[in-house]
């Protein structure tokens, strides 16, 4: 009975560990270039500033602004993922998984704030997911051409 209880607890914990590992493996995908910068500039996304603040000062901006920034960027990027240069107008499986992962990590960020623990690791994970989304959108948009310009060049020149 004790053995079965131990197996149940460890297996459940490992299930979530592997789910996170799959998400991290997907996030390691290399893009042919940094597509996210043009999307960030065109849509005035703020997650690179959050990441820079963490890297430079070791801590994110004040908590209410951090959560609002990340949430707004997430909404903007998920909308773009679904609608920008996406013929099927729906998310792929890995995008769905990463959306769920973002929500879970966001929940841990909120929990960490309540428990007065360090929020930096969770915030960095969230910015990594947002960068991936921006890269995917940028890559898709980059394939659509407006005359001699790619869509991202067009957006950059606005």
């Amino acid at each position: 009975m004790f053995m079965a209880a131990l197996i149940l607890i460890l297996s459940t914990a490992l299930f979530f560990f592997y789910l996170q590992a799959v998400c991290q493996k997907i996030l390691r995908r290399q893009f042919s270039q940094e597509f996210f910068q043009s999307i960030v500039n065109a849509n005035r996304l703020e997650f690179p500033c959050v990441r820079k603040a963490i890297e430079d000062f070791g801590s994110p901006v004040e908590y209410p602004r951090l959560t609002l920034t990340l949430k707004c960027d997430f909404l903007a990027l998920t909308y773009l993922l679904k609608n920008a240069a996406n013929v099927n107008q729906r998310y792929s499986y890995e995008e769905r998984l990463l959306i769920v992962y973002f929500k879970l990590v966001f929940a841990t960020l909120v929990t960490r704030h309540w428990l007065k623990l360090r929020e930096t690791p969770a915030a960095l994970k969230l910015t990594a997911i947002l960068e991936y989304f921006a890269n995917v959108v940028g890559e898709r948009v980059n394939t659509v051409r407006f005359g001699n310009l790619t869509a991202s060049d067009y957006l950059m020149n606005l």
Partner: protein, 243 residues
């Protein structure tokens, strides 16, 4: 009724994904490093996708024949999963001959340990071979696979093995083992209660679906990462060329 439709939907989803994965592996050719995976996926497709539905169709869901066949094939699949984990260890230790010798001994030891623990259980439950013993043997084997899989995952991280396909295959396997071991443990803890049975009947196909989707992703579009050493090497070469 809704439960039945959902369960059937999950089952057919699994059969389709097993077939797709078989086709993908066949199309890409049987490479030596994927041999274990090809054999396991074929076994999974034949036993789970073809033989089980055939027996179910012939004898019915509530028949003893189907119950015996289900649990016997479950043991066969657990053994197959153990051998697949061994093949992943072999792939991870491809350039580490000494480490492989050590790992091989560990794998043999773990298998004997599971056999001994399950045999001890058999002496206590020899009258309930197909209920208690097989559930416990499968649970132990899946859990030992889960522990070995986790060791393999840690080993891949520690040795910095740049094989993203292997990493994703190991993660997918981990999802399946963790779900299966947790479900079986819950079944064992509650002595096969209705609640545990209901959870197990959904958890198992969901985990199998998760594993198959991860494996298809690994086989078709595993992220290609550039090793740090290569980048540094290229930069050094560039600096040397400029100088």
């Amino acid at each position: 009724m809704t439960d039945q439709i959902l369960f059937q939907g999950l089952q057919y989803g699994i059969y389709i994904l097993e077939g797709v994965l078989c086709l993908l592996l066949a199309r890409q050719g049987a490479r030596r490093r994927r041999l274990g995976l090809c054999v396991y996926v074929t076994l999974l497709f034949v036993l789970d996708g073809v033989a089980r539905p055939a027996v179910l169709d012939h004898f019915g869901r509530t028949s003893m024949q189907f119950a015996y066949f289900y649990w016997l094939t479950d043991v066969a699949l657990a053994m197959g999963a153990f051998l697949l984990t061994c093949s992943f260890f072999r792939r991870a230790c491809a350039h580490e001959a000494k480490l492989w010798q050590l790992v091989r001994l560990l794998l043999i030891f773990v298998f004997i340990l599971v056999l001994v623990i399950s045999a001890l259980s058999l002496t206590r439950h020899y009258t309930h071979l197909y209920t208690v013993f097989i559930v416990e043997f499968s649970q132990n084997l899946y859990f030992s696979c889960l522990v070995l899989n986790t060791l393999l995952f840690i080993m891949i991280q520690q040795l910095a093995i740049e094989d993203d396909e292997l990493g994703l295959l190991v993660c997918g396997m981990g999802l399946q083992f963790a779900g299966e071991a947790a479900g079986l443990a819950l079944l064992h803890l509650t002595s096969g209660g209705d609640f545990a049975r209901a959870i197990f009947s959904f958890l198992n196909p969901i985990c199998t679906l998760g594993m198959l989707v991860t494996w298809i992703y690994a086989v078709t579009r595993a992220p290609q990462t550039v090793p740090v050493d290569t980048l540094v090497g290229k930069q050094t070469a560039l600096v040397e060329a400029v100088d």
